[in-house]
Protein backbone atom coordinates (compact mmCIF):
# COMPACT_ATOMS: atom_id res chain seq x y z
CA UNK A 1 0.00 0.00 0.00
CA UNK A 2 1.17 3.55 -0.58
CA UNK A 3 -0.03 6.61 1.24
CA UNK A 4 1.83 9.64 0.01
CA UNK A 5 1.45 11.33 -3.32
CA UNK A 6 4.27 13.48 -4.52
CA UNK A 7 4.14 16.20 -7.08
CA UNK A 8 5.53 16.89 -9.48
CA UNK A 9 6.23 13.37 -10.70
CA UNK A 10 9.28 14.70 -12.51
CA UNK A 11 11.25 17.92 -12.30
CA UNK A 12 14.07 19.18 -14.51
CA UNK A 13 16.07 22.25 -13.46
CA UNK A 14 19.40 23.96 -14.06
CA UNK A 15 22.27 23.67 -11.60
CA UNK A 16 22.06 26.45 -9.03
CA UNK A 17 18.27 26.66 -9.10
CA UNK A 18 16.06 25.58 -6.20
CA UNK A 19 13.94 22.44 -6.41
CA UNK A 20 10.65 22.08 -4.58
CA UNK A 21 8.78 18.81 -4.17
CA UNK A 22 5.45 18.31 -2.44
CA UNK A 23 3.90 15.37 -0.66
CA UNK A 24 0.36 14.76 0.49
CA UNK A 25 -0.80 11.98 2.77
CA UNK A 26 -4.05 10.64 4.15
CA UNK A 27 -3.85 9.46 7.75
CA UNK A 28 -2.56 10.72 11.10
CA UNK A 29 1.18 10.50 11.39
CA UNK A 30 3.88 10.40 14.04
CA UNK A 31 6.46 11.88 11.70
CA UNK A 32 7.24 12.38 8.02
CA UNK A 33 10.56 11.61 6.39
CA UNK A 34 12.21 12.26 3.05
CA UNK A 35 14.47 9.74 1.35
CA UNK A 36 16.59 9.88 -1.76
CA UNK A 37 17.28 7.09 -4.23
CA UNK A 38 19.91 7.13 -6.91
CA UNK A 39 19.20 4.98 -9.95
CA UNK A 40 19.59 1.29 -9.15
CA UNK A 41 20.45 1.89 -5.51
CA UNK A 42 18.75 1.63 -2.12
CA UNK A 43 17.04 4.56 -0.42
CA UNK A 44 18.96 6.91 1.84
CA UNK A 45 17.35 8.91 4.63
CA UNK A 46 17.61 12.69 4.26
CA UNK A 47 15.55 14.39 6.93
CA UNK A 48 12.75 13.77 9.43
CA UNK A 49 10.09 16.16 10.69
CA UNK A 50 7.84 15.29 13.62
CA UNK A 51 4.12 15.92 13.62
CA UNK A 52 4.49 18.77 16.13
CA UNK A 53 7.11 20.57 14.01
CA UNK A 54 6.37 22.93 11.14
CA UNK A 55 9.78 23.44 9.56
CA UNK A 56 13.18 21.78 9.66
CA UNK A 57 16.51 22.60 8.01
CA UNK A 58 19.54 20.48 7.22
CA UNK A 59 22.31 21.93 5.07
CA UNK A 60 20.67 22.70 1.68
CA UNK A 61 17.39 20.99 2.64
CA UNK A 62 14.32 22.67 4.04
CA UNK A 63 11.24 20.65 4.96
CA UNK A 64 7.85 21.99 5.94
CA UNK A 65 4.90 20.11 7.39
CA UNK A 66 1.26 21.21 7.51
CA UNK A 67 -0.70 18.58 9.43
CA UNK A 68 -3.99 20.42 8.90
CA UNK A 69 -3.56 20.01 5.14
CA UNK A 70 -1.74 16.68 5.48
CA UNK A 71 1.05 17.91 3.27
CA UNK A 72 4.80 18.44 3.31
CA UNK A 73 7.32 20.07 1.01
CA UNK A 74 11.02 19.49 0.44
CA UNK A 75 13.14 22.36 -0.84
CA UNK A 76 16.65 21.75 -2.13
CA UNK A 77 18.50 25.05 -2.49
CA UNK A 78 21.35 25.77 -4.92
CA UNK A 79 20.93 22.41 -6.63
CA UNK A 80 23.86 20.47 -8.05
CA UNK A 81 24.07 17.86 -10.78
CA UNK A 82 24.79 15.32 -8.02
CA UNK A 83 21.31 15.98 -6.59
CA UNK A 84 19.84 14.14 -9.59
CA UNK A 85 17.85 11.29 -8.04
CA UNK A 86 14.35 10.22 -7.03
CA UNK A 87 12.98 11.71 -3.82
CA UNK A 88 10.33 9.99 -1.72
CA UNK A 89 8.31 11.10 1.26
CA UNK A 90 7.47 8.50 3.87
CA UNK A 91 4.97 8.67 6.70
CA UNK A 92 5.21 6.83 10.00
CA UNK A 93 1.84 6.09 11.54
CA UNK A 94 0.90 7.08 15.06
CA UNK A 95 1.29 4.35 17.63
CA UNK A 96 3.63 2.20 15.61
CA UNK A 97 6.45 1.99 13.14
CA UNK A 98 4.69 1.21 9.89
CA UNK A 99 6.39 3.38 7.25
CA UNK A 100 4.64 4.06 3.97
CA UNK A 101 6.25 5.67 0.94
CA UNK A 102 4.85 7.83 -1.80
CA UNK A 103 5.39 7.39 -5.53
CA UNK A 104 8.31 9.84 -5.64
CA UNK A 105 9.54 12.84 -7.60
CA UNK A 106 12.25 12.28 -10.18
CA UNK A 107 14.63 15.25 -10.10
CA UNK A 108 17.07 15.94 -12.91
CA UNK A 109 19.59 18.73 -12.41
CA UNK A 110 21.32 19.84 -15.58
CA UNK A 111 24.93 20.99 -15.30
Amino acid sequence: SQQGEEDPQALSIQEGENATMNCSYKTSINNLQWYRQNSGRGLVHLILIRSNEREKHSRRLRVTLDTSKKSSSLLITASRAADTASYFCATVNTGGFKTIFGAGTRLFVKA
Partner: protein, 116 residues
Protein backbone atom coordinates in the same frame (compact mmCIF):
# COMPACT_ATOMS: atom_id res chain seq x y z
CA UNK B 1 27.06 -5.71 10.31
CA UNK B 2 27.84 -2.22 9.13
CA UNK B 3 24.86 -2.01 6.82
CA UNK B 4 21.80 -3.94 5.67
CA UNK B 5 22.82 -6.85 3.48
CA UNK B 6 20.50 -8.50 0.98
CA UNK B 7 21.12 -11.68 -0.96
CA UNK B 8 20.94 -12.55 -3.74
CA UNK B 9 21.38 -9.22 -5.49
CA UNK B 10 19.84 -10.71 -8.62
CA UNK B 11 17.60 -13.72 -9.02
CA UNK B 12 16.16 -15.03 -12.28
CA UNK B 13 13.60 -17.78 -11.99
CA UNK B 14 10.90 -19.45 -13.98
CA UNK B 15 7.19 -19.01 -13.47
CA UNK B 16 5.91 -21.39 -10.83
CA UNK B 17 9.19 -21.77 -8.95
CA UNK B 18 9.84 -21.05 -5.27
CA UNK B 19 12.14 -18.18 -4.28
CA UNK B 20 13.75 -17.09 -1.03
CA UNK B 21 15.24 -13.64 -0.49
CA UNK B 22 17.40 -12.98 2.54
CA UNK B 23 17.96 -9.83 4.58
CA UNK B 24 20.63 -9.35 7.23
CA UNK B 25 19.83 -6.14 9.15
CA UNK B 26 22.08 -3.83 11.11
CA UNK B 27 23.06 -5.45 14.38
CA UNK B 28 20.81 -4.29 17.21
CA UNK B 29 18.01 -3.07 14.95
CA UNK B 30 14.78 -4.54 16.27
CA UNK B 31 12.50 -3.47 13.41
CA UNK B 32 12.84 -4.97 9.93
CA UNK B 33 10.85 -4.08 6.84
CA UNK B 34 10.23 -5.59 3.42
CA UNK B 35 9.16 -3.47 0.45
CA UNK B 36 8.66 -4.19 -3.23
CA UNK B 37 9.57 -1.61 -5.84
CA UNK B 38 8.64 -1.71 -9.51
CA UNK B 39 10.36 0.45 -12.10
CA UNK B 40 9.44 4.10 -11.72
CA UNK B 41 7.37 3.49 -8.59
CA UNK B 42 7.83 4.10 -4.90
CA UNK B 43 8.54 1.28 -2.44
CA UNK B 44 5.37 -0.68 -1.75
CA UNK B 45 5.05 -1.82 1.87
CA UNK B 46 4.84 -5.58 2.35
CA UNK B 47 5.51 -6.45 6.00
CA UNK B 48 7.41 -5.31 9.04
CA UNK B 49 8.74 -7.15 12.06
CA UNK B 50 9.29 -5.93 15.57
CA UNK B 51 11.67 -8.52 16.97
CA UNK B 52 10.62 -11.99 15.87
CA UNK B 53 6.98 -11.23 15.27
CA UNK B 54 5.30 -9.71 12.25
CA UNK B 55 3.82 -6.47 13.59
CA UNK B 56 2.01 -5.69 10.34
CA UNK B 57 1.76 -7.96 7.29
CA UNK B 58 -1.09 -6.10 5.62
CA UNK B 59 0.98 -5.37 2.52
CA UNK B 60 1.62 -8.97 1.52
CA UNK B 61 -0.27 -9.28 -1.77
CA UNK B 62 -1.54 -12.84 -1.30
CA UNK B 63 -0.81 -16.11 0.45
CA UNK B 64 2.03 -16.96 -1.94
CA UNK B 65 4.14 -14.46 0.01
CA UNK B 66 5.46 -15.22 3.46
CA UNK B 67 8.25 -13.80 5.61
CA UNK B 68 9.97 -15.02 8.75
CA UNK B 69 12.44 -13.67 11.26
CA UNK B 70 12.89 -16.58 13.66
CA UNK B 71 15.66 -15.17 15.86
CA UNK B 72 14.86 -11.50 15.56
CA UNK B 73 17.77 -10.79 13.25
CA UNK B 74 17.98 -12.25 9.73
CA UNK B 75 14.74 -12.35 7.78
CA UNK B 76 13.70 -14.39 4.76
CA UNK B 77 10.99 -13.41 2.30
CA UNK B 78 9.53 -16.49 0.65
CA UNK B 79 7.54 -16.46 -2.57
CA UNK B 80 5.78 -19.60 -3.72
CA UNK B 81 4.60 -20.39 -7.25
CA UNK B 82 6.17 -17.23 -8.64
CA UNK B 83 4.33 -15.27 -11.31
CA UNK B 84 5.69 -12.83 -13.89
CA UNK B 85 3.98 -10.02 -11.98
CA UNK B 86 6.21 -10.73 -8.98
CA UNK B 87 9.17 -9.34 -10.93
CA UNK B 88 10.46 -6.31 -9.02
CA UNK B 89 13.22 -5.14 -6.70
CA UNK B 90 12.61 -6.36 -3.16
CA UNK B 91 14.01 -3.93 -0.62
CA UNK B 92 14.76 -4.66 2.99
CA UNK B 93 15.27 -2.00 5.66
CA UNK B 94 15.94 -2.02 9.37
CA UNK B 95 15.60 0.50 12.17
CA UNK B 96 16.14 0.79 15.89
CA UNK B 97 12.37 0.63 16.31
CA UNK B 98 12.65 1.95 19.83
CA UNK B 99 10.69 4.37 21.93
CA UNK B 100 12.05 7.48 20.25
CA UNK B 101 9.30 7.29 17.69
CA UNK B 102 11.65 8.51 15.01
CA UNK B 103 12.20 5.23 13.24
CA UNK B 104 14.70 6.13 10.54
CA UNK B 105 15.12 3.28 8.07
CA UNK B 106 18.42 2.04 6.69
CA UNK B 107 17.95 0.23 3.40
CA UNK B 108 19.83 -2.56 1.72
CA UNK B 109 20.69 -2.44 -1.97
CA UNK B 110 17.78 -4.73 -2.84
CA UNK B 111 17.25 -8.08 -4.52
CA UNK B 112 16.13 -7.84 -8.14
CA UNK B 113 13.76 -10.69 -8.93
CA UNK B 114 12.95 -11.55 -12.54
CA UNK B 115 10.32 -14.19 -13.22
CA UNK B 116 10.43 -15.50 -16.78
Amino acid sequence: GAGVSQTPSNKVTEKGKYVELRCDPISGHTALYWYRQSLGQGPEFLIYFQGTGAADDSGLPNDRFFAVRPEGSVSTLKIQRTERGDSAVYLCASSLGGGSGANVLTFGAGSRLTVL
